[in-house]
Amino acid sequence: MPGRRNAAVPAVPEPVVPEPVVPEPAVPEPAGHVLRATSVGKRIDEAVLLLPTDVELGPAQCVVLRGPNGSGKTTLLRILAGTVPPSEGQATLDGSPVDERDDLTRTAIAALIGAPATYRDLTLVDHLVLIDSTWGQVGQRAEDRADEILELLEIDHLAERFPHELSSGQQQLFHLSMVLARPSSILLLDEPEQRLDTDKRDLLARILLDRKADGSSLLIACHDPAMTDALADTVVDLLLA
């Protein structure tokens, strides 16, 4: 489809969200990763899933992807997470192609694109301890951090429930807690506000702003105008392919 491309527009963020209420640990130095999509597009046979798109996400920045259903937001996130190869263009992390199987990509990027992997025989707190342990946290620290994250998302009262015992909104908060639990410097989130009530959306925006202030970069597909205004440094409007 020559001539049609998705383009970024700078957003004018308005600080409508109040200060974060939950204290976080000492602010780490920004990792300095740059995630870039250069003319990235995806097609399967004749079906165009994503028009060629340019996106650049620098340290401690937030880029919000907008666009109608089917415009390729999730596909672009998958490409930038390194789980799907683009059919044209290039997706790079600090100049190297992103590939989820690569340790460096996996260490830098945490993604919530669709429902993540869960074990039906583990409780919520067990999942967070498992995630933290596989990233090298051992002992009481991992268990304390698991409790802190559940408290941060106000689901600490559900710590001993199994995933199948949660409502859809609680599931979404649980999925977010798992992504926030693992260390990362870039967060890729596909409609993180879905199924959340207004209070929880505000809470999520505060948490993400807090993450950004700590040096994390955020790339978010979002349909919520208030969250977009609160978080976005740049907005990329995707066109329907």
Partner: protein
Amino acid sequence: MNGADKAQLRQVRAAILGNRSDTSLSSTLYPVYVAVIAASTYGVPASQQLFRSLDKRWLAEHVGTPAGAVVAVTSTALLLTVFRLVGRFHGPVVPPLPYLEMVVTSPMPRRVTLARYWRLSLGGSTIGGVLVGVVGVAGLAIANVASPVMLLPASLGGALLGVVVAELWLQGQLQGQFRAPPFGNRRRTSPLSGRRNALARLDITGLRRQAASNVTLGGAVLAGDLRTVRLDAARPTTHARRVRLKASRPLSVIARRDLLGLRRAPWSALYGLGFAAAGSAGLMLSLQSPRTPTMAPLFSLVLCHLGFGSWCEGLRLHADNSGTSRLLGLPYRDTALAHLAVPVSAWTLTTLVVGAGLWLAGPIGPAALVFALGAGALLAGTHLMAAFRGLPPVGVFGPHAGVPAMVFWYSKPLLATLVVGTATAAWAARAASPWDAFYGLLVGTAGVVAWGLALVDKRDRRA
């Protein structure tokens, strides 16, 4: 069922059928016809071939002895237990959802509205029992091990077994309900009245759940999606929620996860233990004499495969999650291998305990114990294959492939266990030195493990 009930049910059936003709009798008799044809065409020849392939002296020594009776009683008890367990998830009385919503929820007595579905299952189970008895004894008679006169008692015994199976299957369905049976104190209810009340005690929630599960399972089987079948059949975990996973090093926390999973599914752990203990004992004993029928290690390996598989839920859940956002800090293949730590350790421990007991008692030597321990690696490889096989290729659904191709595709991991395990076990039992066969087992195992790891990497690439 009184006359008014019969008339009301006739009206209901007429309303459901509309202008269509009632084909219920022919559709009920057709499976019976197919079963009889299959039993006579394939069952009897296979049975007589099986008994002819066995060493006649060995067979004569064991059939009709106390040991033979113990095997027969144990097998029957196992069969009945399995049916009772199956009833908890898929009972004999599962009408389709529209019938449940429009008829079973009506004020008509439940024992009336469900009677037809119970009779179908009872009839099917009884006829199945008769066919099993006839096929088994016909095979023995043709192989000159039993007299043809035994066909009559075998048919009657089979029919009786079929009735008992159906009853226990129904009891399992009652036990699987969320609500307790509503009618009074069980101690005051005689078995007969309890049986009469069984259909009335089935609650609509349980019936709906099983009917919906039927639809899901039917679709999953047609699509060749065993994962959906497994997840739908399994009950959600709710045990030991207050026991927390302890933080640990990256690889050992995966093993801790699997141990916690087994603690929360204690029946699965126990089935695994029972099957693995019986299977490893059978495998070790089958290596002791060249006259032991090849069926013995083959059957033992089936038990080993089932037992080891009961401990592999963590591995299967990891495979189920491929394609989703990765949150663990370990590479995909390393996580898969870490999930094998618990089943391999459990197998080693079980085999050591069972093998040490048999060794001290005298029937086996150290070579058999080492062989059974080596079989653990084979089982690990075949369960890697099973967990990461994914969905069948499109070709399996083609018009020329059919059900056998689908069954073969899904059975490949089990077949790998049986082919490598049985061939090397038969070799070990007949060779002058069992160690050559053991090295053969190791070579076969290496191939199977490599195949399993290739499937893991394939799923990783697809993810």
